[in-house]
């Protein structure tokens, strides 16, 4: 299948091999604008590696990744971010020595060069944008708090907020509700339902209830390959998926 221009993200024959072990093997999938794609699969299926390859953290051995007709595999991580791809890591990754406000400010898409950062001014526009995002991620009362003192769930929200402030066209989330309490989980599901509206999202998640709620389409990965793809109902009924998940 040729890359159609109306796909936001085209992944074709993507392969990465670590010392001969193919963690991702000739993988192809396509993401449309405003689609919410959920990737599921057993441990070691290569889910996180796929995200790493798209955002440039891991260098691919072969294949292509096209985003808005730009080849991402040749770009540096920060260039991929500026092209419009945002990535949330599996464990909450925030700057613990800075306040919530400063964490969000660093992600604000302005002053990203060395001299831009030196000259950066915290003007009203920046402050109101940060206030707006902080409210979205339930942290409006904690702006002056040092990020180290946030709970696990709050750190996850903060990192989601740091991505939202970049306003990426493609948002990639690696297990956004992992390790959260039931109440936090519910709140996060609401938050994600709101933030995935005007953009494409790729989510890795294990919580099936959660997946059913948000997924446009589901891709099941197994040993670095696509095992099944389609609606939630379709993949749940797929005998190959049942085989892999339930074993022999």
């Amino acid at each position: 299948m040729d890359a159609r221009p109306d796909f936001l993200l085209t992944v074709e024959n993507l392969t990465v091999s670590f010392d001969g072990f193919k963690a991702v093997d000739s993988l192809s999938f396509y993401v449309e604008p405003n689609e919410c794609r959920v990737i599921i699969g057993p441990n070691g299926a290569g889910k996180t590696t796929v995200l790493d390859l798209i955002c440039g953290r891991t260098k691919a051995t072969g294949g292509k990744v096209e985003f808005k007709n730009q080849e991402l595999l040749k770009m540096r991580e920060d260039q991929i971010v500026h092209a419009g791809v945002g990535r949330k890591f599996q464990t909450p990754t925030v700057y613990e020595d800075l306040t919530v406000f400063e964490n969000l400010e660093i992600s604000y898409p302005k002053g990203h060069g060395v001299f831009g950062a030196l000259m950066f001014r915290r003007d009203d526009e920046v402050i109101s944008r940060i206030d707006e995002i902080a409210e979205t991620v339930f942290l409006e009362d904690l702006l002056d708090e040092q990020a180290a003192f946030l709970s696990h769930g709050q750190k996850q929200w903060l990192e989601i907020g740091m991505l939202l402030i970049q306003d990426p066209e493609l948002l990639m989330l690696d297990e956004p509700v992992a390790g959260m309490s039931v109440a936090e989980r519910k709140q996060t599901a609401e938050l994600l339902n709101r933030v995935i509206k005007d953009r494409s999202v790729i989510v890795i998640e294990h919580d099936m209830k959660f997946v059913e709620d948000i997924a446009t389409r589901v891709t099941v990965l197994h040993q670095g390959k696509v095992l099944s793809e389609g609606s939630m109902a379709h993949v749940q009924a797929d005998p190959k998926v049942i085989e892999v998940y339930l074993g022999h």
Partner: protein
């Protein structure tokens, strides 16, 4: 409320800068004779290096064990100018080739090498003091940080560079003065730098430059760049995936640290009257890191006190117990790492500052900072 936190100087910084200025410009010059004042001026040249280390290591997490390289390059650039001025044909007429530096004559060199020639000009030399170390730091920075060499590996490589430069200087005796260094420096544009008046004036110039560097360092720390450095220390990947080219920021701060160290080196040469490889190599480079750690690697003011106190202790104890001094220095470093990781500045902010704040609070209870985090208020909100 948030804007007030972004002021250039917080109250603590303002008190710190004020007290340090009082010490350097009033207390020390009044309280000390010229000999001791010159000695303190020498100690303060290390404070330049320590300020650079606070930015690189304290903020950015880049530990360089080779700051002596930049201190030395700055010092040598200054020394080359002074040496050429001290080597006029009249002053060196007893040499077999008059008009060249004495060490060149001793090494059977008969003319000034071509790369020494530009150092006849004071303007060129002053520019070279900053530019030579910065360009060198830039090359190291590009080579290391673009390849994502960091942490311990970077520290080891900077240490190797310090060793290489020392060996190079010692080996090229005819061009560098070898292990003795460049000695017997006399005048700067005809002004004798060895007199007491000159030493006092140089002390104040040194103090002024130190405050200029403190001011620049504060500018960097208070800008978003300063916060990005801290962010890089915490989570380098997150910074990268927030759209920053991390290597550029590391190169910048490494070059800034080199520039500060170079100014210190040039002032060292002017005040002490010579420059030698013993200020370039591994041991002085590690001493520079220790004095930064003792002062507090997160505080530029603390670093200055660290430079003063460690060097003062070094002078005192190395006179009293010459064999034990190095062990004492090592013990001091271990104590800093184990007992007070944020150095003197950490002790100040943990124990002394809260008491001062408490006294102020009692006197002016109404002037409570509204930007301060209020645990009672947050707890009440959380309970809702």
């Amino acid at each position: 409320m948030l804007l007030s936190k972004n002021r250039f100087f917080s109250t603590t910084d303002l008190i710190g800068f004020g007290l340090l200025a009082l010490l350097i410009f009033v207390v020390l010059p009044i309280g000390l004779d010229t000999f001791r004042l010159n000695l303190f001026g020498k100690y303060l040249t290390y404070a330049f290096v320590a300020i650079g280390l606070v930015l690189c290591w304290g903020a950015g997490g880049i530990l360089s064990l080779g700051q002596g390289v930049f201190f030395g390059l700055g010092g040598y650039c200054m020394a080359m100018f002074l040496k050429l001025e001290a080597s006029s044909p009249e002053a060196t007429k007893i040499q077999s080739t008059p008009g060249i530096p004495d060490f060149m004559d001793w090494n059977q060199i008969t003319e000034i090498p071509i790369w020494w020639q530009p150092f006849h000009s004071l303007t060129f030399s002053l520019i070279a003091v900053i530019l030579v170390p910065v360009i060198f730091a830039f090359i190291i920075g590009v080579a290391m940080f673009r390849r994502r060499v960091g942490g311990v590996y970077f520290a080891i490589i900077t240490q190797a560079i310090a060793a290489i430069l020392t060996i190079l200087i010692i080996g090229q005796q005819g061009y560098t003065g070898g292990v003795n260094g460049i000695t017997d420096l006399r005048t700067l544009k005809g002004w004798d730098i060895r007199t007491d008046d000159a030493k006092v004036l140089l002390y104040f110039v040194n103090g002024g430059l130190l405050f200029a560097c403190l001011f620049l360092a504060q500018l960097i720390r208070r800008s978003k760049l300063g916060r990005i450095l801290i962010a890089m220390r915490n989570q380098e990947d997150r910074v990268r995936f927030s759209g920053y080219d991390v290597a550029n920021f590391k190169i910048f701060v490494f070059c800034a640290g080199a520039a500060f160290a170079a100014i210190g080196g040039a002032m060292f040469t002017l005040q002490v009257g010579f420059m030698s490889p013993s200020f370039v190599g591994i041991v002085p480079s590690i001493e520079m890191v220790i004095l930064c750690a003792v002062g507090g690697r997160l505080s530029i003011i603390g670093a200055v006190y660290g430079a003063l106190l460690v060097n003062l202790a070094k002078t005192t104890f190395s006179e009293l117990f010459p064999e034990l001094w190095l062990l004492g220095l090592g013990g001091l470093f271990i104590a800093v790492v184990l007992i007070f990781p944020n150095g003197l500045a950490g002790l100040y902010s943990d124990y002394i500052e809260p008491r001062i704040t408490a006294i102020f609070k009692r006197k002016f209870p109404e002037s409570k900072d509204p930007g301060k985090f209020d645990p009672a208020k947050t707890a009440a909100e959380a309970a809702e």
